[in-house]
Amino acid sequence: MTPATSDRLSATFAALADPTRRAILARLQSAEVSVTELAEPFSMSLPAVSKHLKVLERAGLIARGREAQWRPCRLEASPLKQVADWVAHYRRFFDESFDQLDDYLGELKKKEKKHARKQSKN
């Protein structure tokens, strides 16, 4: 993983570390929602919700509309996919390595047999 990828992952993880922000993301799964609507279930002030939205926006987890009054928030999936891909990448490493280990062990076994035969002859 490159430093840039790791940097993006850090931002995603940090953004997801807060339960309010996770709840906001969950809410955005079904529809685009305005900041006022988002604030309702959390009994939070609008500025407090805005702060959370800024963190989510910086991490690329949400996108916001441009309208000045009603800036609807929308969930962006790609950083979440990247987190899931993170470990899948390492699983692949071992799957492929183990195929090669399997072949190599076959080679080692033959060598050891030969070696054992030589020793029994001597």
Binding site: S6, R22, L25, K51, L80, V87, R91, L105, L108
Partner: protein, 166 residues
């Protein structure tokens, strides 16, 4: 990662109160494979560069650097060269070695500070075959991203849900 990166620089956000250097991400990975070879032989394949260079890499990649001091506390330095010609360093230290049943090591991935992996490899006998289990915990740490270190498994459970619907 550079500390000066504006994306992850410490800010004055309300959720950035915690000054501790914390883990921002953690994931576990377990892989099991049964090899048709005696346990001693499978273990041996992990003990020396001449063996590891033959298999410890993804397909199409090479291991141009493979130095290791195979005992507890000994360090290892690997470079995996990708098909694209890029080098990916993996450096670390052996934590525990129990021949022929267990190897534990910790390492840093691709020279990225805070991007670490803790690995436990166990070798179990299975009627002349060997069951190999690799358990890894990947962590991503950053002094620039601060928050509550708890609730990770929960976060990742939620994440799985998002991915299904996203």
């Amino acid at each position: 990662m550079p500390a000066s990166n504006p994306r992850t620089s410490p800010s004055s956000n309300t959720d950035d109160k915690n000054d501790a250097f914390i883990k921002v991400g953690e994931r576990d990975l377990t892989i099991t494979r049964v090899f048709n070879a005696p346990r001693e032989l499978v273990f041996k394949a992990w003990t020396k560069p001449e063996h590891l260079t033959r298999w410890f890499k993804p397909k199409g990649c090479t291991l141009p650097k493979c130095e290791m001091d195979f005992h507890a506390g000994g360090v290892f330095r690997f470079v995996i060269r990708g098909e694209d010609g890029k080098d990916y360093p993996f450096n670390g230290e052996f934590v525990e070695i129990v021949e022929p049943s267990r190897i534990v090591f910790k390492g840093n991935i691709h020279d990225v500070p805070g991007q670490n992996v803790f690995t436990t490899v166990t070798f179990a006998e299975l009627d002349g075959k060997t069951k190999l289990t690799v358990h890894q915990t990947y962590t991503l740490e950053s002094d620039a991203t601060r928050g509550a270190p708890t609730g990770w498994s929960q976060t990742l459970d939620h994440l799985e849900k998002f991915l299904i619907t996203a």
